[in-house]
């Protein structure tokens, strides 16, 4: 499948993924894999089926055909799990193309909701919490500390107590990534995180994603149209067109792949266009 890379170290393996909606084949027999501590970009023109692949991986759709394996101890077959279990047990987190924060809740609360399952256990299904036992208070303080660390990393510490819906657009994008990271994911799926960002914010996003890969050691799956992001930070690129995979490789290979140039980057052959 991936001639340029050695086998065996995949974090997620997508095999023969097919998704049909009635007569429409949105994703057609797509196979690829993504590795831990790497950024794998999925690119392709509009309607190529990128977000559908994401929705299958994160349980929002049940694939028509295909196997999605998240390797670990134990392995998880994502296509057989309920939507919320994928976040809870397999620890796959995602962000959305159109930002989905909890707009009425504060920035800090958004990050605490992300740590729900951990805190729920610590609060003894709310019983210890209602009684005000120390065990829960310690767990909550730890959760707030973790949120504080992330707020510093996305430079929103001063805005912690503001409603998330009041933040500027770029800050909301960063917050959504931080919120996904607060679930302690093994795989982070980002759906167009750079959409609507200005060049400076986009460069900041690059640094954030690189730090998530290198410092936190999380595998990142990235859908992105912004080629300056894709080509700079991805280790591996998968190209979809009309639901089919047309190329796969490192950014340099993709840049020079004639099929990709034909389908996606235009005829001039300028990958940075």
């Amino acid at each position: 499948m991936t001639p340029s890379r050695e086998e065996g170290a995949a974090l997620i393996e997508v095999e023969h993924l097919t998704m049909r909606f009635g007569g429409l084949v949105a994703v057609d027999d797509v196979s690829f894999s993504a590795r831990p501590r790497e950024i794998t970009a999925i690119i392709g023109p509009n309607g190529a089926g990128k977000t559908t692949v994401f929705n299958c991986i994160t349980g929002f759709y049940k694939p028509t055909i295909g196997r999605l394996t998240l390797h670990g101890e134990p392995d998880y077959l994502l296509e057989r799990m309920l939507g919320h279990e994928i976040g809870q047990k397999a620890r796959v987190a995602r962000t959305f193309q159109n930002i989905r924060l909890f707009p009425g809740m504060t920035v800090l609360e958004n990050l605490l909701v992300a740590q729900h399952n951990k805190l729920m256990r610590a609060s003894g299904m709310s019983v210890f919490g209602l009684l005000g036992l120390a065990r829960y208070r310690i767990a909550e303080a730890a959760a707030i500390d973790k949120a504080r660390v992330w707020l510093e990393r996305i430079r929103l510490l001063a805005d912690a107590d503001r409603p998330a819906g009041e933040l500027p657009y770029g800050a909301q994008r960063r917050l959504e990534i931080a919120r996904a990271m607060c679930t302690d994911p093994r795989l982070l799926c980002l759906d167009e995180p750079a959409a609507g960002l200005n060049p400076r914010e986009s460069a900041e996003l690059n640094d954030l994603l690189v730090s998530i890969r290198d410092l936190d050691g999380v595998g990142v799956l990235l859908i992105e149209h912004d080629m300056s992001v894709v080509m700079t930070i991805s280790n591996h690129v998968v190209v979809l067109d009309y639901g089919r995979k047309i190329a796969e490789g490192n950014p340099q290979e993709i840049r020079n792949d004639p099929a990709v140039i034909r389908a996606y980057l235009g005829t001039e052959g300028d990958a940075d266009a």
Binding site: A93, L101, F102, G104, H116
Partner: protein, 470 residues
Amino acid sequence: MDARLPPMIKDSALTALVAAALGVFIVGFKTIDVGTGGPVFDYQLVDLAIAVVTIFFGRLGLQLASVGLKWPAFVLGIALGAVGAAPLKLPSTFLHWFIVLAGIVIILRTIWPWANEAMAKARHSPRGANYGRNFVKFFGAGLLVAAVLMPFMPFADQKTMDLAVLILTYVMLGWGLNIVVGLAGLLDLGYVAFYAVGAYAYALLSTQHGLGFWTVLPLAGMMAAAFGLVLGFPVLRLRGDYLAIVTLGFGEIIRLVLLNWVDLSNGPAGIGGIPGPTLFGAVFAETAPAGKTTFAEMAGIPFSANQRLIYLYYIILLLALVTNLFTQRVRRLPVGRAWEALREDETACKALGINPTNTKLTAFTVGAMFAGFAGSFFAAKQRFISPESFTFIESAIILAIVVLGGMGSQIGVVLAAVLLIGLPEWFRDLGAYRMVVFGLAMVLIMAFRPRGLIAHREPSVRLHPVRAGP
């Protein structure tokens, strides 16, 4: 002369013309029955003329205000008010009111944008935000003190205490439903079903098995919670409007079962002779049944019918406060935050690994439990219950209290309950018009405070402590 004035005058004249054309048949003349010889008309053209002139100036004032000519509009409003209030010899008192009302409407229309702007500015300044927060806090504390002292006030006669108990029952129901609707965002139109379950649980267990109020209270809560769990499980996968319709149906089903299952519930005849709550075994009655003592004997004071009411008042106050404290506490727990997150965005919750069904179910069940507590209190207070008391309109009123109070706001629920339950009682003198006052209050709240009386949401946790108040 301002160039904007002629079109305004033209428009006002047109409005007045329309009013005159419509009014000539309604106000202009009326038929008097003189017995024989066909109708005789009584002409009221002076009334009509005054009304039309008022409408002309009223319309002019509103237009002045809408284009921003504040001072002329304001002066016109004051002038109309003064004319209406002046001791002129107008044909009817209604015309006085009409003119004054026109003046008030113009003045309100003129100052509304100013007031709004000033309020918005105040809300967004850090000092204003602090002020609002402190206000809510102190207001709440003040209300609590007033509620505790209320039975000993000189004005607390039987009628007032009765009303206070009624209002507190709705406050508790509002706080209970607030968990379901305000926090978890589940539109529940059948909340009264759980209230009925609690009421019938106490009525049946006390009259048929001789259990006391304090024994049954937790049982009734648990039973209502069990109903919530069973009903919630199949329906909570629905969202928004669909959930509302199904809960509405369930509310009606419970009522119809109570109405028709005569063996269990005695059907439409209801259950009577329900014992009231006791205090350490003492009953609140003039003469105690065999083997019991009355509260008056135990305390060594003369009997008065008020003692029972005051006791009921403190029970419901306690129950309501328990509901409130529970909600305050649970909001700071992960489950409470998950409820609010679910209200904000269910899809995002799922992506974060939160089980939406379980989370909704807990909110639904806990809300039902508090309705069950309130229900058994209701049965103990009324001593007679029938399915009549658990109609859809009850659910609607409780929901109205939550929505008008401001979704999720605890103090808001109190204010809305006082307004919606208290107003119709206080305005009983108005007779048929009291429901108009009720409706008007609702319309005004929604017009001026579309997000409810208290829209401020206090975060469940803060990273940066709030600086001391202003």
